[in-house]
């Protein structure tokens, strides 16, 4: 197992509660789905249906504006309204509300499987674009743009099934249940990008998946490299993955493409394969519902737009009052206050954490004792202790020397602080101060 970048933390993984639970559909399909018009960081989309229209599963209901993605109906039924609804990323934003008729009629105009042997790159890109795929590991950037940017410019394709955050097991289950398809998708992406090397990165806590994939690889003779890495958060971050797999370091302010690498999440790769070989757009995704407050933690196969409340109901509801509910992993996720917010394309988990599970998070802050844990745990070699000092002492002129723009907000510093200082918040605050200072100067 490899270990090549400095820093990182080892949170308790809590994956045992869901790692053996197969991905199952919802017990009861949602009566209504709420599909936000904006589900990717590139930009929004414009609705192409009106209230009262009948829609079918996979039908395009919104077309992209500037850098957005296509949005598809995930259930069949009638459009009830297009109105502001709670968004899991925060706030209320326009969403298409569809009443589910429970029939799941597939859309008749879906394209058939693609002729992969011919390998028409333009057609493939077109299909990926039409399928409305965003990166599904939490980042939510449009995948077709990323692929288009990387074609021919990379020599290494890295598909990450690291899933280094606690609780998350959806990718692990995907590897176990759809191993063949995942390997095929990695190979297809490598061909599409003209990469010489295709690496599937798996964290060391999924050794059963590694063994299974190795067996499949031997049988199918695919040219995919399997790379097992010692589990450590934040292993799945792009720069850390590139460093670990290839030994290259992404220069500050640049992205993985600049060192000839392309990084994709395994769920994204699988969805790309589905779009190309099956012709199905991104309408469903796997979500881990877990946490100590959930009665029956499990992995669910959920239509995009399902309210979070439905997911909880399918998992047996709440066992006790949770201390916090959030979507995404506990380190980088977003706190949810409204359970009516829907599942969107980057929602990989719904977690209801109890007081004990949160550890000392949220305890009152005490003084910095200069233990240096934050510096030792920062994977980007930053110095949060100095940021704390500069912000609290008002020494803003020191901030530009601390390279805050490198921070990718993984939260290792906050996690490791024994004084419970919200260092990540302070770094964010300092970034803002820096920008203001830059604007004034």
């Amino acid at each position: 197992m490899l270990r090549r970048y400095l820093g990182g933390v080892h949170p308790v993984s809590y994956k045992a509660s869901t790692r053996r639970k197969p991905i199952v559909p919802l017990e009861r399909p949602p009566e209504q789905v709420v599909i936000p018009l904006t589900m990717c960081t590139g930009g929004g989309s414009a609705a192409v249906v009106k209230p009262g229209d009948q829609v079918t599963v996979g039908q395009v209901i919104a077309k992209p504006l500037d850098m957005g993605v296509y949005v598809h109906a995930s259930v069949s039924g009638r459009v009830r309204a297009i109105e502001p609804r709670p968004h899991p990323w925060g706030g209320k934003w326009d969403a298409i509300v569809i009443d589910n008729d429970g029939l799941d009629t597939p859309c008749p105009s879906l394209p058939g499987p693609m002729d992969w042997a011919r390998m028409d790159r333009m057609e493939a890109l077109q299909r990926i674009c039409k399928a409305g795929i965003t990166s599904m590991g939490g980042g939510a950037s449009p995948t077709h743009l990323r692929i288009a940017k990387s074609v021919g410019r990379v020599d290494t394709l890295i598909v990450s099934a690291a899933e280094c955050e606690p609780y998350l097991t959806a990718d692990h289950r995907l590897l176990l249940e759809k191993g063949d398809q995942v390997l095929q998708s990695v190979q297809m992406l490598a061909q599409l990008l003209r990469a010489d090397r295709a690496v599937l990165v798996v964290a060391g806590d999924k050794l059963n998946a590694v063994e299974f994939l190795e067996r499949r690889l031997r049988r199918k003779r695919r040219s995919v490299e399997l790379c097992t890495i010692q589990t450590r958060y934040p292993l799945g971050m792009e720069k850390q993955l590139v460093r670990t797999v290839t030994g290259r370091e992404v220069p500050p302010g640049r992205s993985a493409i600049d060192v000839k690498c392309a990084v994709f999440n395994v769920a994204t790769a699988y969805t790309v394969r589905q779009a190309l070989l099956e012709g199905t757009p991104l309408t469903h995704r796997a979500v881990t519902v877990s946490g100590g407050a959930v009665a029956r933690p499990r992995n669910l196969w959920v239509p995009i737009g399902t309210p979070l409340r439905c997911l909880l109901e399918s998992s047996g509801g709440l066992r006790e009052e949770p201390a916090v509910i959030l979507t995404g992993g506990p380190m980088t996720g977003t706190v949810q206050t409204d359970l009516d917010a829907p599942v969107v394309k980057n929602t990989n988990a719904l977690l209801c954490l109890t007081r004990e599970e949160r550890g000392s998070a949220g305890e009152p802050e005490t003084v910095c004792v200069r233990c240096g844990h934050c510096v030792a745990s920062c994977p980007m070699n930053l110095n949060p202790a100095f940021v704390y000092r500069a912000v609290r002492m008002g020494e803003t002129e020191r901030l530009p020397q601390l390279h805050l723009e490198d921070c990718m907000e993984c939260g290792c510093c906050t996690y490791s602080c024994p004084s419970h200082i919200p260092l990540e918040d302070l770094v964010r605050q300092a970034k803002k101060l820096c920008q203001e200072g830059g604007n004034q100067g």
């Binding site: 500050p252 005490t366 004792v369 070699n381 390279h403």
Partner: protein, 551 residues
Amino acid sequence: MNGPVIQHTSPQIAQPAGISSTMRDVIVALIPALAMAVFLFGPRVLAVTAVSVGTCVLAEYGYCRLRGLPNPTGDLSACVTGLLLAMSLPATAPYWAPVLGGLFAIVVVKQLYGGLGRNFLNPALAGRTLLCTFPGLMTHWVDAFHYPSLLGGADAVSAATPMASLHAGELPDLTLGQLLLGQHGGAMGGVPAFMLILGGVYLVGRRVISPRIPLAFVGTVALLTLLFPRGDGGALAWMTAQLLGGGLMLGAIFMASDYTTTPVTPLGQTLFGVGCGALTVLLRYFGSYPDGVGWAILTMNCCVWLLDRSAIPRRFGLGRFARARAWVGELKESAAAIRFVPPKLKFLARAGEGTMPGEGYLDELRGKVRQWGAVAGVFLVVCGAVFGVHRLTDYAAVRAETEAQEALLAQVMPQATMRTETPYRAAGALSITAGYNDSGLVGYCVEVQANGFGGLLTAVVGVNTNGEVTGVAVTSHRETEGVGTDAMTEEYLSQYVGKSGTIRSSGNNAVDAVSGATATSQAVTACVNQALAIVANLDTEGSVSYVDGEV
């Protein structure tokens, strides 16, 4: 962009440790060493520890109560300070020592600088170092298994510690097992090295401390002592004794790894450890104290700000030598930017508003004088205090001088038990000391000089009341080593004993000159004659002349 943006929130989980649980771990790690110390030095260890911990906690509570601050004793840091302070003291320490040290550590070193996280010196070490300035307190170590009594304590036998013999350049007479388990004299917590290492392993395993500082510290000491061994037991034995004999383990594992007073960056921590190790070896080899761990750590504590700023981790994504290259580039730029700028001279006469020309400048001068005067005043006061303390506490030099004098006089007049300097003066005598025993005056010891072969020769001659020589000793000379010094051997000088009158070089009442050292022999004889004459003519009845005799 008009749309939702992903609201990242801070991590919703955190490692369960806090300051108090960290401190609790340190206390747990110290318990084996404390238990071993109780086994080695008896119950007094517990009493001293209790006094020390109690003082520290009460001092912290009292200070914060007086200042109206929230009560900080819950974080247990005062307990750790008290525990470490007690463990660095000898088991025979009087009870006022931990009280004074604890008060100094908590109030002056920690709280006056703003409390936990803001002090720049390790409080426990600073308290211990204050106690080091009391003579005798930190130099009398009790041997293991000599339990000092619970109340008295000061009467215990003091033993030679391994550090004392190492300081003298000899290997202590101890086996490896004895060194590891601490069966020798020393600070009560610094002695059981094995238990301290056990505690260190616990702390590293619990991720309370990173092993960087202890490893760098111990490693540097090991390397340097291995490279430059002394004594005749081999380099490895010397290194082992250096590592386990003194307070190195206590210092490296528990004091040098203190969070607040060490650098935060990994590289800085390593450099800190290396610096501590190098200083420790230097102080042990060339310092006047046997052990230098405490001084080394305190010195490096003062360099932490420098280490923090110079050892910033390499920025992710930059090459390995990017920093050096950037630095060289900057240097080149600054070298290119150097220009000769003619100095701007200030002239005395400068007219201010509504003032006489030059008045402003005078004011400025006055301000400067006041400023520098204050600095000079503080400097003088500090110098005076240091000098005074030095004079008051510099017993060792005075005692050594007196003892040498006593030994000399005992040699020239063994019959006398008590000697006093007399006020008598006589021509040619540098000093005249009277010797007494139980029955009264025995005689006089006279310090006289005569010209030898190479220059002046000073000798002390004892003459009893009968006018007979009781002994001769040469105190300083410039004779040739190996030739002239033949006439200063005890054997030769003993020939003078019992002689009286005037001694000649031949015939009656003569002392044979040493062949080859005739001039020196004659000089000694001249000294003796002079002394005999002085004593014979000593005017003890008449008025005493206090005028120094010309030599």
